[in-house]
Amino acid sequence: MYGFGLAKGLMVTLKNFIRPPFTIQYPEERIPQHPRFRGEEFAWYEERCTGCASCAKYCPLGIIKIVTSEGGRSPQEGGHYDIDVFDIDIGRCMFCGLCVEACPYDALFMGSGFERGRYERQDLVITVDELREAVKKPSTWFRPQLEDSGYDPHKDSALDWRAVGREKWEWHQREKAGARIKFRPARVGDKTQEGDGEARS
């Protein structure tokens, strides 16, 4: 009989008519974001930053501008560079996160915001003052130490600079102690990996 395919299609749409919608009412409801979400609201810890500008170098678009000046004290006295300018031009940022990946001192973290709509382009530049004053809820993207501690930027409170570093991270401590150096990298063809640890841990 002809038209059965059409009737079936009608039944499918009817079934979906009865079901609740899958879209959400955005400003009121939100899709739960994963802690790894890469967004704006960069978390920058001035205490950890040496002004080495690795992030600026590795940014594929060159949108991070860093100007440093020598602090008053000598390095022996614990002095370091002062960060005068730390501008991130969000208007051109593509949130690839390479700046975070490049930062050797865990000073820069991605954030979880995505609602930075502005009427002027210059308002899209995150300045150093804004970064200093921001509530620092770092994303766990490329920061396994945060991920291991179970930190969730959407639920937990803001983190202090002492709490975000890699030196607190036990796994890294073991790595520093040489646990990883002995590790033989796995290659295709190795069949000997079964049994060490539960599958897909």
């Binding site: 299609g9 009608l10 749409t13 079901r19 899958f22 879209t23 290659r187 295709v188």
Partner: protein, 420 residues
Amino acid sequence: MTPFLQENVVFREVYCFLGGNEGNASWCGGDGLLPGGFEWAAYFAAGFVIMFILVNAALLGAAVFVWSERRLLARFQARRGPNRWGPWGIFQPIADLLKLIIKEDIVPNAADRLAFTLVPIIMLMALLLSLAVMPFARNTYLVNLNVGILYIIAVSSMSTIAIFMAGWSSANKYAMFGAMRGVAMLISYEIPLVLSLVGVVLIVGSMSLVSVVEAQTVPFLLVQPLGALVFMLGISAELNRTPFDILEAESEIIAGYHTEYSGIKFALIQAAEMAGVLAASGFLATIFMGGWSGPFWSGQLGAFWFLVKLAGFVMLFIWIRATFPRLRIDQIMAFAWKFLLPLALINFLVTAVQVYFFGFYQGDVPGELTRNELWIMAAINIPVALIAIGIFGRFSREKVRVPEPVFQNIAPSPRTMEVD
């Protein structure tokens, strides 16, 4: 002077309230407000009131239909639809309308201004004229024309002219495509559309929609299943609804004939289209579902029954729109000529034989078929419909055959790995 609208309740009340002292005594209780010799003023005032109600009801109905279509379509698509303005977003069409009114009314430089401007008016006019004969409830209609069905068909065809005018005057190739498609398609679909109604006319013995409703002791959907199917498909082609919406196929020709329209003209075209769906649903309900007659209290609840049936058909239109892709122009034409036209002719033939057999014209006065005779006709016509659809569906059998999926399990070529 006896205005031919006198059967209408609203008209009569207004006319008698205002009407002159003379000439209305026969069907008005007493004297009206106006002095004698002013019957014409009462006549126009009463006419205006009734037109005002009807036009506004149609346009408001279009607004409600826009809202409900958007909401229902969204629900079919597992979305939510407009829900910001008012409860459940009910004021959304008003917001849309306000937006469209304050937008610039653009007329392209190369456009034929007069034809371009006339289009929304003609489209809306065609729609509103066709509402004149629709019985909304018992004794609630503008006029009981004895050629009501013919009148509907004739008046609604005027929108074809409007569509062609829009396509031609816009000086836009997309609009021209839409218009050419529209003319080709709409004219083809007129024929099965008219023929599908011939069966109903034969049974009722009158073209008046009022007598069609009164004759329906059994819904004509059962008595005339083929006619109802052909009319439903034909009317959805006339209304440019999926799967026949090639006139304004947004994925092919942007917006079709109204590509260049903006602002209030666009709003009027949309209103005409949307209210057209309502009108078509109303005619479907009237002709095939018994109009205002319901299972009980048909006299008091006539408008309610009518609205329920209308809503049912509107829902069906929306449901189909949410589900089906559209056909191609040549397939649509083939569908009209090779499928709908034979079905309509079969329906016509079978009905004619039945009506003759039941001795419809006995004596001088056309009698009505009894309820039992209608049931017998239904019992014959439903199998006839199924068989006819089956026979004519076979011609497209090869086109709709579903091929079996083919898999080729290629053996993976071995990888030569260097393992250190």
